[in-house]
């Protein structure tokens, strides 16, 4: 077996040194009638070539996004990632190191995290960010729990514009913790009255901009109303590139900003691993979940970095910890940070501009098709399109023509009365030909109705 260095004679010598007759003697604590003697019912070891063949066959049975005109977003965005990013994250020293618990020999990871925290804080307009969470949805759930701790209240108001699966995560956590949520109805046109739902028992308002339906939102008034009631605003975003052009959570008065960072540096990966971004005000840092890298000096006075404020964490505080979280999304945070340091503010703004331009052009093309309506007055790189008939069937018909046309809203919000709505996204990876192909396929599908 190519991954196992010991050979039979070495194993024998080691057993002799230990002083046991055979390997089974070392497993003697397992009750005899529960010990397996044969082999598990899975195939025997395979060569590298055979594994590659088997895995490639499975991979071949999905349609890769890059092989077709592709217009799906809704929380995960197809990006062109500079080759530098994937090369650097495969450096052994980043890829195969553990959590930096011995800072003297982990300064590489720690400095990266410090830089990442600074980038995230700047991007979100907040004072301080942590070293990342599992993903945007779990960051959102943790933010809700943090707001409950800070306000000592337990009723969250959830906007109907929040990504439905983020809201589901919050609902599951709230139910399990015995907390309450007020979840507003799905809100296609950003017309809901969140402020009316805030009262003196509200712990936080969780609202997304651009929202699930693509509408940029002004959350400043909501922040003000929440604060007047002693509640916090949690501002959510699902594409970090949007912040290259749009107002940041900090500018709108958010107390906690959470988002999905996949859209920088990280591939689609069928939903994971991604990287959750989490930022807040400095005064709340001791209630923040997750790891934090901080600056200090070593005994020679040299600037150094170390994991800090760990008295918030489970390995010290056990059941009194701010969260049970024990990991961040280190390598994905590194990919995010490298991509963003290549872009800089200038590149990020330009990338955001291209995303927006592509989406505007696509919306114009699609809206020109008779019977198609683009719902949004404003949007960044995704918008809702209304078409006659069930959107889910239309998306399947488009897929048969080799176009991935977006998300039928009914897939995430069945029974919400939005069965004729599709969330369509366009990033910088779409070409003019892709958009023309989409419009043509859509027009075809709509005229060839059964």
């Amino acid at each position: 077996m190519r991954y196992l260095p010991l050979d039979e004679s070495e194993r024998e010598a080691m057993l002799t040194r230990i002083g046991v007759p055979d390997i089974e003697a070392l497993f003697a604590d397992i009750p005899a009638d529960k010990r397996l003697h044969g082999l598990l019912d899975i195939p025997l070891a395979k060569s590298e070539m055979a594994v590659e063949r088997a895995m490639s066959a499975i991979a071949g049975r999905s349609v890769a996004a890059g092989s077709v005109p592709f217009f799906l977003g809704s929380g995960a965005y197809r990006r062109h990632i500079p080759a530098t990013v994937d090369h650097l994250i495969q450096r052994s020293e980043f890829l195969t190191s553990y959590t930096p618990y011995q800072p003297e020999i982990a300064q590489g990871t720690l400095q990266v995290l410090f830089e990442f925290q600074t980038q995230v804080a700047e991007l979100t307009g907040m004072q301080v960010a942590n070293a990342s969470m599992y993903d945007g949805s779990t960051a959102c759930g943790e933010a809700m729990l943090m707001a409950h701790r800070l306000t000592r209240r337990n009723r969250a108001v959830i906007s109907g514009g929040l990504h439905p699966q983020y809201a589901d995560v919050c609902a599951t956590l709230a139910h399990m913790a015995g907390d309450r949520i007020s979840r507003l109805a799905p809100d296609l046109r950003a017309s809901e009255d969140i402020i009316a739902a805030i009262d003196d028992e509200t712990s936080c308002v969780i609202a997304q901009s651009p929202d699930f339906f693509g509408n940029p939102r002004d959350l400043a008034a909501i922040a003000e109303a929440a604060h007047a009631h002693g509640a916090l605003l949690i501002a959510v975003f699902t594409d970090p590139v949007a912040l290259g052009l749009l107002r940041s959570p900090g500018e709108m008065g958010a107390d906690i900003a959470v988002g999905e960072g996949q859209g920088l540096g990280n591939a689609l990966n069928f939903g994971g691993p991604y990287v959750g971004l989490f930022a807040t005000r400095l005064k709340y840092v001791r209630q923040m979940p997750g790891r934090l890298a901080g600056e200090t000096v070593d005994v020679e006075g040299r600037r150094s970095f170390v994991l800090t404020l760990s008295t918030r964490e489970q390995h010290i505080r056990r059941e009194k910890a701010t969260s049970n979280i024990c990991t961040n999304s280190g390598l994905c945070a590194l990919a995010f940070s490298i991509h963003l340091s290549l872009l800089g503010a200038k590149g990020l703004e330009q990338l955001a501009k291209v995303n927006h331009a592509n989406a505007v052009e696509l919306a114009e093309r699609l809206a020109a098709i008779p019977s198609v309506e683009v719902v949004n007055a404003h949007f960044f790189n995704e918008f809702v399109m209304r078409t006659p008939g069930p959107a889910a069937e239309l998306i399947e018909a488009l897929a048969k023509r080799g176009v991935i046309g977006g998300l039928p809203v009914s897939r995430l919000l069945p029974g919400a009365g939005l069965d004729d709505c599709i969330v369509v996204a366009s990033t910088e990876t779409n070409t003019g030909e892709d958009r023309a192909a989409y419009a043509e396929a859509l027009a075809d599908c709509l005229t060839m109705k059964p």
């Binding site: 070891a45 890829l95 290259g244 069928f270 691993p273 059941e319 503010a345 990020l348 291209v354």
Partner: protein, 514 residues
């Protein structure tokens, strides 16, 4: 608190080292922050200007300009390569962190995870266009079910602690379904447990009742029986446990827990010791998370991403979170909503850590049933070899009994040396080794937990053992300087962690007012 967050200027650091003009020491190079070395008007990505268009952002455009430095490609490569060189890694040497299972990360797995049919598939693509992705998840699920001997598996949890939360939520849902949600709200947790266990119980509103391990390091049936009561929802037991021992009385414990109407959560962090040797399902476990980043070799990445699928017994299977996969005829379908089921809800957006699933399946196919069993045996053999070769110079808390995949020592043998476990660990750094896990488990004084995994050659183990023996003998011979000043040969020496916590500087800020 230092709100400014103003860091030391790098030249100060260089000056203080006093040895070279740059502060560098040969290959050991000081590297500034990107905020110090990068330019705020530069970019390393060439992006074409779009054709003129009418913006549709409305009144939502950013007011304040972003301040993020940009690096050209050569600058970026140099920055991150220089930083990387300050890290220890499993690729560079044995990484004997107990409880962390730092095994070799095969590069084939990295190659497979980057196939476009896995990496470039969107989680919300029409299911008809993502059949391969679902097939991969199904294949990994089946393999994990065979290894655990359990009935169902929830694949979406994103890490071990997230898997614990998933398992405990399934238990809570099952108890609520029985109408005992208000009365059963206690989790029994051994005092040797990982901190995540009690923290997880607290997250779902349970209180924690601590169960002591015996003098032999394991939990006895009698202790568990004494702690069981009608208010107990579950026991959370790690097996093999954090002392590196198999819980010999586990079957009796499972029976007692079930008789008392509670469920058995097993922390599967140490599954690497027993794959192919015993199945948790046969031991009476109701829920167990599996750290794919430990047992199945997905890289730790400097602290994640992990993946923590949770295997469930038939009694808990109905409460598993969405999504799950159903095979209908020839096609695979995704169940994404709880309606019409007893599922407790959703743990995260989308379907779990696909990138980790690919790597784990690639590892499993490579090893096969024979290789997986051999890997467990080699991991246990190597740990016992280390234990046997060091037991005359260091002290083991549970005497000469054999261990599973990690060897545990305490600090009694350091008693008259004036040195601590930490000093010993830091001296290992100067010898070119990453230290073992220290001060965990909490129940063993000055604990040193060594987990070599199956990835080390005998020559590597022998040199490691000889080094630790030499250090131990030096400590006993009173050569304290070798320890108290250590590490001396690492990129940094001991850090002022108190200052980091008392005056937190958590980000860079500009020296100039904005």
């Amino acid at each position: 608190m230092n709100v400014q967050g103003r860091p030391t200027h790098p030249e100060t650091a260089a000056a203080m080292s006093g040895e070279t003009f740059t502060g560098n020491r040969g290959l050991d190079i000081e590297e500034a922050l990107i905020f110090e070395s990068g330019r705020f008007d530069a970019t390393g990505v060439d992006i074409d200007e779009p054709a003129p268009f009418e913006p549709k952002l409305g009144p939502h455009a950013r007011g304040r300009a972003l301040r993020l430095p940009g690096l050209t490609e050569p600058e970026a490569i140099r920055h991150y390569v220089r930083l990387s060189r300050n890290n220890y890694s499993i690729d560079a040497g044995i990484y004997p962190l107990g409880s962390c299972t730092m095994k070799h990360n095969p590069r084939l797995n990295e190659k497979m995870a980057r196939l476009p049919g896995f990496a470039d598939v969107h989680p919300l693509q029409p299911v008809s266009t993502a059949q391969g992705a679902l097939e991969l998840i199904e294949a990994l699920s089946n393999a994990l079910l065979i290894m655990t001997g359990m009935d169902a598996i929830a694949m979406s949890p994103k890490a071990g602690a997230h898997g614990e939360l998933c398992g405990m939520m399934a238990i809570k849902a099952a108890i609520e379904a029985r109408g005992e949600g208000e009365t059963r709200r206690v989790a029994l947790v051994p005092d040797s447990a990982h901190g995540t266990n009690p923290a997880t119980a607290a997250l779902i509103g349970y209180s924690v009742r601590s169960v002591p391990a015996g003098a032999d390091g394991i939990v006895s049936v009698e202790t568990v029986k004494a702690a069981l009561a009608p208010d107990v929802a579950a026991i959370m037991l790690t097996n093999p446990n954090t002392c590196g021992l198999f819980e010999r009385e586990i079957v009796g414990i499972a029976d007692a827990v079930h008789e008392a109407g509670a469920y058995f959560y097993c922390d599967g962090a140490n599954f690497n010791a027993v794959v192919g040797k015993t199945r948790p399902g046969d031991l009476g476990v109701d829920a167990m998370h599996i750290n794919l980043h430990k047992t199945f070799s997905t890289p730790h990445g400097g602290g994640g991403p992990g993946a923590g699928p949770v295997a469930l017994s038939a009694r808990l299977a109905p409460y598993a979170p969405v999504p799950f996969i159903r095979r209908e005829g020839g096609a695979l379908r995704l169940v994404e909503h709880v309606e019409g089921s007893e599922s407790f809800g959703r743990m995260c957006a989308f379907h779990g850590q696909m990138g980790m699933f690919v790597r784990a399946l690639s590892f499993i196919l490579s090893h096969g049933a024979d290789g997986l069993k051999q890997a467990s045996e080699d991991a246990v053999l190597s740990a016992n070899y280390i234990r046997a070769c060091l037991s005359d110079v260091m002290s083991a808390p549970f005497g000469d009994r054999s261990c599973m995949h990690e060897a545990l020592f305490d600090d009694r043998w350091l008693k008259d040396t004036g040195l601590t476990t930490l000093d010993f660990a830091k001296a290992m750094i100067d010898e070119g080794y990453h230290p073992m896990t220290v001060y965990f488990p909490l129940i063993v004084h000055g604990a040193m937990l060594i987990e070599p995994t199956e990835s080390e050659s005998k020559a590597s183990l022998d040199l490691f053992i000889m080094t630790l023996r030499d250090l131990a003998l030096a400590a006993k011979a009173g050569k304290r300087e070798r320890f108290l000043s250590a590490p001396e040969h690492s990129p940094r020496r001991r850090l002022d962690e108190t200052r980091a916590a008392r005056q937190p500087v958590l980000r860079w800020t500009s020296p100039q007012p904005a």
